[in-house]
Amino acid sequence: MVPISYYLIVSVVLFSIGVLGVFTRRNAIVIFMCIELMLNAANLAFIAFSRHLHSIDGQIFVFFVMAVAAAEAAVGLGIIIALYRNKETINVDEINIMKW
């Protein structure tokens, strides 16, 4: 059995790659995809612990995280489309109406 820390290291690396993507990319859709990547990193950690601690609660929680991520992706993409309809751009650098 692979020690759990290996799976956790993979989860942490995935998470930090997602964080890096949110910081560096300027396309709103790609930022959204990096958020999904972070959620998946957390899912991997949950399932690794679920196997390590001989419990199914981790997998049940992953089920709910996936449902929440699907709902959030749908609404977030609706927001991005509405934003594009108003501003003609999805480059987050140019969406600065609230800057003072």
């Binding site: 396309n27 199914i56 089920f63």
Partner: protein, 157 residues
């Protein structure tokens, strides 16, 4: 999988990023299979790679994003400090994960016990008995998401 995740954030074309994310999801599903989570692996492929990423690709192609729209524009110092911060976060989290020994009270669902009944059956049994309330609340959440998505697509908000 780490490589495809890196390619998600490094490619300029957002369609390429989405396709690399699909590859990452498939690799994650394989990893879940290794962790005795067959139900979650199937759900990952069906929901994440099959529905959410298709939605992403629809939106990317609907908005007709140009290839170089995510090109960097002189934010070099910001990228450098973002890289430093992410390396610091990763190193600190990895050090936490490897130094500790994760012990805890072991539950009853050992992989051998789960494999003889079936992973999906045990998850279904738990979902409808112990976790019924979150299950029903999730259905309401999905209803709210549907209503929100429909309202956001109206011409006059």
């Amino acid at each position: 999988m780490i490589l495809s995740a890196l390619m998600v954030i490094l490619r300029k074309n957002p369609v390429h990023s989405a396709l690399f994310l699909v590859v990452t999801f498939f690799c994650l599903a394989g990893l879940y299979l290794l962790l005795n989570a067959e139900f979650i692996a199937a759900i990952q492929v069906i929901v994440y790679a099959g529905a959410i990423m298709v939605l992403f690709l629809f939106v990317i192609m609907l908005l007709n994003v140009e290839k170089e729209v995510a090109a960097p524009s002189g934010h070099g110092f910001q990228k450098f400090w973002a890289l430093v911060l992410c390396v610091v976060v990763a190193v600190s989290l990895i050090s936490i994960m490897t130094i500790n020994v994760f012990t805890g009270e072991k539950g009853i669902y050992s992989p051998e016990m789960v494999n003889e009944v079936g992973n999906s059956e045990i998850i279904g049994r738990l979902l409808f008995t112990d976790f019924l309330l979150p299950f029903e609340i999730t259905s309401i959440l999905l209803l709210a998401a549907i209503i929100g998505a429909v309202i956001l697509s109206k011409k006059k908000l």
